[in-house]
């Protein structure tokens, strides 16, 4: 797996980490994720079930969005570090057809033989609805 190398010496709190735009979360994408990860809850696949439960449409599995964020962090780190801790909370559903934007910011950097850093991540829809918040701790490779 290749990726860009992080310059740990230049990393500063307040800087942006990885950012990305992904989607749209088509019906096919939701079903493809369900098949790949084994999450077959009908809320994410069957429009009639979703609407009967009170949702306006099918929506993405929470880990679908959370997994994409972890994936982006993993890609950003490449061989220059490891994702050490990841904490996420889904705050709103991502409905079919929506696209999402990930924004991250470095909140802390600890310099040392094995540097560490913390980042905050927010994922939001095009209309500005925040769907996920996450915190991550990354470490440099010895």
């Amino acid at each position: 797996m290749t990726g860009s190398l992080i310059d740990w010496g230049a990393l500063r709190a307040g800087e942006s980490g990885p950012s990305a735009r992904f989607g749209p979360f088509t019906h096919a994408a939701l079903i493809r994720y369900a098949g790949a990860l084994g999450e077959y809850n009908d809320l994410h696949q069957d429009v009639d079930v979703a609407r009967a439960t009170g949702y306006r449409d099918v929506f993405a599995q929470g880990m679908f969005v959370g997994g994409i964020v972890a994936q982006q962090l993993w890609l950003w780190l490449g061989e220059s570090g490891r994702l050490r801790r990841y904490r996420m909370r889904i705050v709103a559903p991502t409905f079919r057809g929506e696209s999402l934007t990930l924004a991250t910011v470095v909140t802390e950097v600890v310099v040392g033989p094995i540097p560490t850093a913390r980042l905050d991540a927010i994922v939001s829809t095009d209309s500005g609805t925040v769907v996920l918040r996450a915190e991550a701790t990354i470490v440099g490779v010895a």
Binding site: G35, L37, G38, F64, G66, G67, W74, R89
Partner: protein, 162 residues
């Protein structure tokens, strides 16, 4: 499958082993499929089996999704969890060791905590945290997963997310 509606708090003490998972293989094809599902075609293309090349590291989600391991939360008998009344709370992961294609992972899930709580919109509910530790074929801890769910007194409606 719906869980029992009886109040089972206190029946399953904190620390109880709820499930043993696996061993589960970390496979080329599944890693490729997952990457594609995450809109990451480039990573998926990198997962090409080569018998002469040691298995590469896999991305974090491979070990994050509990459903991959066949242990849906409400399958934990004795907890009295009703999937119709559950809301996702929080997920937390500690990645302790690289996981590679070719690894085998074994998980043990325990009830970490179960506490009553009260929310402005949700009213009275329970906050339940289950911790799963995955070890690899060398018995090294690889991933610790903590999943917190909220069990409401009644089924949530979609409007709760509007």
């Amino acid at each position: 499958m719906s869980g029992a509606s009886a109040d089972t708090r206190g029946i399953v003490p904190v620390g109880t082993v709820l499930a043993r998972i696996g061993p589960i293989p970390v496979e080329w094809g599944k890693a490729r499929e997952i990457a594609l599902a995450l809109f990451d075609r480039a990573t998926a293309e990198g997962f090409r089996p080569d018998p002469d090349v040691p298995g590469p590291r896999v991305m974090p989600i491979y070990t994050m999704v509990q459903s991959l391991w066949g242990s849906a939360l409400h399958d934990y008998t004795g907890l009295g969890l009703d999937p119709d009344r559950l809301l996702d709370g929080e997920y937390e992961y500690e990645f302790l060791a690289d996981v590679h294609i070719g690894d085998w992972l074994t998980g043990v899930s325990r009830l970490e905590s179960r506490e009553p709580a009260h929310g402005r919109r949700a009213g009275a509910f329970e906050r339940i945290t289950i911790e799963t530790t995955f070890t690899n074929q060398n018995e090294e801890p690889a991933v610790i997963m903590r999943r917190t769910v909220l069990q409401l007194e009644s089924a949530p409606r979609g409007e709760a997310y509007a």
